[in-house]
Symmetry: C2
Subunit: 492 residues, 2 copies
Amino acid sequence: MFEAAELGRKVSKQEFAERERDLQTRLLAAQQRLAEAKFPVIVVVSGVEGSGKGDVVSRLHGWLDTRGIQTHAFWDESDEERQRPHYWRFWRVMPPKGTLGMLFGSWYTQPIVERAHDRIDADAFERELTRIVDFERMLTDDGALLVKFWYHLSKGEQARRVEEDGKSRHGSRLSHLAKEYAKRYDDFTEASSRALRVTDTGNAPWYVIEAQNRRYRDLTTGVTLLESIERRLERDEASRPIDIRSSAMAPDTEGASITVLDRVDLAQQASEDVDKEIRKLQAQLHRLTWKAWKKGRNTVAVFEGWDAAGKGGAIRRVTAGIDARLYRVITIGAPTDEERAQHYLWRFWRHVPRKGFVTIYDRSWYGRVLVERIEGFAEHHEWKRSYQEINDFEEQLTEHGVVLLKFWIHIDPDEQLRRFEERQNTPWKQHKITDEDWRNRDRWDAYKLAINDMVARTSTHAAPWTLVAGNDKRFARLQVLRTFCERLQAEL
Amino acid sequence: MFEAAELGRKVSKQEFAERERDLQTRLLAAQQRLAEAKFPVIVVVSGVEGSGKGDVVSRLHGWLDTRGIQTHAFWDESDEERQRPHYWRFWRVMPPKGTLGMLFGSWYTQPIVERAHDRIDADAFERELTRIVDFERMLTDDGALLVKFWYHLSKGEQARRVEEDGKSRHGSRLSHLAKEYAKRYDDFTEASSRALRVTDTGNAPWYVIEAQNRRYRDLTTGVTLLESIERRLERDEASRPIDIRSSAMAPDTEGASITVLDRVDLAQQASEDVDKEIRKLQAQLHRLTWKAWKKGRNTVAVFEGWDAAGKGGAIRRVTAGIDARLYRVITIGAPTDEERAQHYLWRFWRHVPRKGFVTIYDRSWYGRVLVERIEGFAEHHEWKRSYQEINDFEEQLTEHGVVLLKFWIHIDPDEQLRRFEERQNTPWKQHKITDEDWRNRDRWDAYKLAINDMVARTSTHAAPWTLVAGNDKRFARLQVLRTFCERLQAEL
């Protein structure tokens, strides 16, 4: 969930200054139109301790006309509040139509804190999250625009900030709490990633924002909020279906548009004895897959990647290590007529393996949020809601005991070009290159953004993404095989 | 939940014959249009054992063109199925677009059976229900039309049928199971009413159909299915928002249009010593409300009823029994500007009482599904989804420990006319009668249907409706006071 928010995105002082004035002008204009509109904007401001939630809200106050904003923090429940059902405290501060309410923490704080401290069990936590989903749906059904921000810091960075903060206000209640939270960083991360995963719905998506660089954090928040309001106003005027972006709108500067792919070290190369290593891993995989068969555990492996990234080669190295009776490779191309007459997940459900077997998907359900998104084959609201549908689907697999592996094989544009040209110039490889490949290549940046969203929204504890460094094919195969064996070993 | 399906609704042989031909013609026409359309129809056929689910489906097969239908029953999981995640068995039989799939029991059977036998706990059951809601939303988001029928029999009737059935097929597996189920009638009712309550959503509503009279059962099923398909086809052609009826479409005959209100015995009269009895109950109420205060339990009482049914008088008899410091009466009229700028539930949330106090709502949130529905103040999709919103709201109250009482004071049209005329002819009562009252009176039948839906969808175990016989005012007051005291006594 949070990998995509530890990338070191940043905005320079100069870039910030250049963009701030324009942003403020547009925010004020949007706010004026909002006052006439028939819906409230509810901004949820959440995230790890020390990420500067208060500073973001102050900045927004500086940009906006404060007459149309109310801000509420939810500290300990008051006497008044404790005596009523829990949600009463939120109902009492709901912003009226035409205004903007900023809620610190909101309905998320208590469940996450309780769960992180193990004061409520997993079931009670799930119940709370279901309640949140219902509550938010009720608000958005009624027309509210919900914009939810989660500010993330890496473990090290949080510890550093809490330390720093502690020095400036000794013994204050806040710094005491913050220290306490920092100690439980991992528990908090687990609880909050689960909360975000369950409540990241099409109508009320989360925007996870990297909070390390303050200028990046504030500018991204401002632009995302602005975009959300503007799109909603447009929708109301044109009565079109709602069109919510799935990523926070980072400023269009180099330091701010880093994606998870930029953190893959493509310079990695296989050492000389790679073939020996590969054979060793294949033998291990052979043993492990038989062991899985005996234990009745099935395995699903998903291979995605750029055109010419070497998916096929990697899959062949994997299958070479598995008894032919135990695996099946499903190649996903254009859907058949029969498949087109069903929900898009149907074609994947039908191939879910029986106990003990391995199914390898060469491309997969992720096409929905990649090619279908980019090419417009799926409507915006369709692919937007499919992150959650995919997470639900994968959860059903992993809950049933399926070991789920997901590989994205990454290469850079230069390497792709080299391989395209090689294919075109090699007679027996020409069939592998089509006009479509060249078209996709032109949309590299759009795909990059889509891949970043995909990893951010579907990399879960039970089904993490592995980003494979693919410029050196042999290194990539080694990484795939090694991950495959490690995961199986850990799960069996 | 099931009160509204134990009314003895029926259709005579002659009425059935008269309507069947027309229904079949229209069903076939709708089915033809469906074949061209871009959505599947998924019919869920569920209900108590012995209610004749198989007979209904056979009847539908007789009416429809069988080429466009697939029927699936979910018996014990096959070997194949057990080895995959549970929902695989449902995915494999999903009807393609343009066709109709009839699913016996479906995803509801297993959770309800497991819960009724106490083989899963309440938390696991809730998780299953949440999964169902997500699954059904995914289907309807994708365009599927989901029509869910629940066939109900009273306890006595089920026992009779199982007995009868047992005689005809001795020792068969079915009859053995049916007997087993009949023994656990109450457990099944509890589990299934919870399941229906949680999964009765705006996009996939339940139609609870009384199964005692076979002709009523089949005709109502046919008409409801037809209506659902026709409305959906119209919507697609006109691209209007979906417009789902909230009640099953009973045939328009006398025996079939009985509502819960027809089962209220309006001939009941107070005995002569009613005043003494009322004073006794008021004294008891005084003690009980102080006891509730000491225990920190709050009470919310909702009064709804026909115009001139005597709500005011009944409320005054209740408040006369409570210390003035402990209660508050909230009269709900037209919303204020401030209230109009919020979600419709906001105005009720703001008055939720603190611990130990009593809040009486003179009219309430139920206006949403009564006057707002009938007068068109709320859009169809708005009031339709509010049954669930209301149930969620009330659940938050009762979970917090609020004792929730809901009264509908019923009178018949003649009695109302008498009271209207009396008001008009009595100078000091004239202000109590307005043109609106006469207008509402003209819509008596529409209100009756709305009240029936309201009781069917919002009478829950923790917050049941009490239907008060109001023709004799003094009897009504006695019934209200007695119910009030009994509920408090049971809860404290």
